[in-house]
Symmetry: C2
Subunit: 128 residues, 2 copies
Amino acid sequence: MYSIHEVCERTGLTAHTLRYYEKEKLLPNVNRSAGGFRQYSDEDLEALGMICCLKNTGMSLQNISRFMALTREGDQTLRERCELLKKHRDTVLVRMEEMQKHLEKVTWKVNYFTERLAEYERNNSDTR
Amino acid sequence: MYSIHEVCERTGLTAHTLRYYEKEKLLPNVNRSAGGFRQYSDEDLEALGMICCLKNTGMSLQNISRFMALTREGDQTLRERCELLKKHRDTVLVRMEEMQKHLEKVTWKVNYFTERLAEYERNNSDTR
DNA sequence: GTAAACCTTGAAGTTTACTCTAAGTCAATG
DNA sequence: CATTGACTTAGAGTAAACTTCAAGGTTTAC
């Protein structure tokens, strides 16, 4: 069992964010101590690993929440989750390809500006 | 000279967004007709090209606004703009590498889920 | 010359993902 | 057993990037 602070260290999320995720049903049903403090289990940590993985690849919290709800339903949703995950992977792939194209444009602009700058400095080297 | 609607078609931005960008100083000083309608020049379109390029690679509107302000100051800001652009390109590169790693994790999960699903269906094939 | 389509403005509203606040409860230490 | 510091809650606030609204002015086509 881990306190919210330990989970912060392990996941890189803040306590605020963990509580927020709980409220938003990404990871509800976290155990509590007698005094009402959160106690995260190893499964909770594993679930948080999945949550971060999906979040880091740009899935909205709303969709992550849906995915985690399916997870809590157990193995009979394995097929559906597998399909969702594949679809997500494809989305990410497409986004990365687009990004690659956009990046090429930036690179082109950097070269263009570098040339323009060189020319500008050639023309103004005598006025200094 | 192009109407706001023509610029929408060329850039893929909505009229709302174009007006918003004007208000936010990304591209202020757009010419107006006698009746007060916006008339975009070819330079405006070129500037919008740069704006979209920066936006597509994840630069904030605030930073784009700063970049465009430098652009309006003319050639004496070429060096600064060139540096900014290079820094931006590096940022994008780093972000893409991170994304690649996150994507690999998703791919791993897809495979893991595919295997788990296969096993689940093997175990439940006789109960149907 | 009037109706329909299009443009104008400022301001308020929306969404996402937090982030902070206040007022209080709980646990550990001297 | 009191203090310190971490934890609790509901709810308000924030930031970015739009998006919508209402009320009105402009163009164009018949």
